[in-house]
């Protein structure tokens, strides 16, 4: 099966039905390994056991941006190539991205209280991630407000591409401004500053959460394709009754 074959929603449904059980099993296994490694990781010499929050906060924070990146590619697919599955992918990803962003904000807040002495600070990193969360909610509201999926898709694609400007702002906010949030410690010039005892569980959790996103996204895309099929059949039924 080539990539172009996946443009056909029916072929896509066949593929996801086959793939989803395997993906779910690998995701669950990796999550269990990651959770075990996180539990067994040593305490940090400064943060103590609160360093364990990092193993869930960082993957959620990465995914909050990654999902918007996926939606931006899908937006290009909608506007430039008019790929039939592009807006399905974008619509299905938005609630999942919003959930990851919410978790990044709340776990960051719960990590910040014991470490910084405050749940919230209006610094550049925290504020730009909050804006990302609000943009996710705006996008979900837009999808729900416009009844015709193809019209909603174009409006949502434009909003997604405009919102993508926020991604480099989030990434480099800790370098461009003086923030309470720490600078990058994994993806940075000169390699990670984390010790292997923390880096390995973090990377396992990051891969596990990424696979969780892929699994949930494929399942949500399948639902969206079925929802559109229901809509078109209902319209067909209504026009048959009218005739």
């Amino acid at each position: 099966m080539t990539l172009i074959d996946l443009a056909n929603p029916t072929r896509f449904l066949t593929l996801t039905t086959r793939l989803l059980p395997w993906l779910a099993a690998v995701t669950a296994t990796l999550l269990l390994i990651g959770l075990y490694q996180s539990a067994m990781a040593p305490d940090d010499y400064q943060q103590g056991a609160t360093v364990k929050i990092m193993f869930i906060h960082v993957p959620n924070a990465w995914l909050s941006m990654f999902v918007w990146g996926v939606m931006s590619l899908a937006a290009l697919g909608t506007l430039v190539w008019r790929h039939p599955l592009a807006d399905v992918a974008a619509k299905a990803a938005a609630p999942i991205g919003a959930a990851f962003t919410f978790l990044a904000l709340v776990t960051g807040s719960l990590w910040g209280r014991p470490m910084w002495g405050t749940y919230w600070e209006w610094d550049a990193r925290l504020t730009s991630v909050l804006i990302l969360f609000l943009m996710y909610l705006g996008l979900i509201a837009l999808w729900r407000a416009v009844e015709d999926p193809s019209r909603a898709a174009r409006a949502a694609a434009i909003l997604t591409l405009v919102g993508a400007i926020n991604l480099p702002i989030i990434k480099f906010s800790v370098d461009w401004w003086n923030t309470l949030h720490q600078p990058a410690s994994v993806m940075r010039m000169g390699g990670s500053s984390l010790d292997r005892a923390f880096l390995i569980p973090l990377l396992v959790m990051a891969v596990a959460f990424s696979l969780l996103f892929v699994t949930l996204h494929l399942a949500a895309m399948r639902n969206e394709i079925l929802r559109r099929r229901v809509r078109s059949l209902q319209m067909m039924q209504a026009s048959q009754r009218a005739a």
Partner: protein, 59 residues
């Protein structure tokens, strides 16, 4: 494994992530069942897809 004086922050973080992920999984599973049920109802009412296949045939 001792979680120290900030155990409540650590446990709350993990519990919240587990709850939100569970809600996502359940929401997607319920949505899937709902769409399949609607397709079955349409199939029972005699509506056929343009391809000529049954409405309830999701593949």
């Amino acid at each position: 494994m001792s979680l120290g004086p900030y155990a409540s922050f650590i446990v709350t973080s993990y519990a919240l992530v587990a709850a939100v992920v569970l809600i996502l999984i359940v929401w997607i599973a319920i949505d899937y069942r709902r769409q399949k049920e609607r397709l079955r109802e349409l199939d029972a009412s005699g509506v056929i897809r343009r391809s000529g296949r049954s409405a309830a045939d999701i593949q």
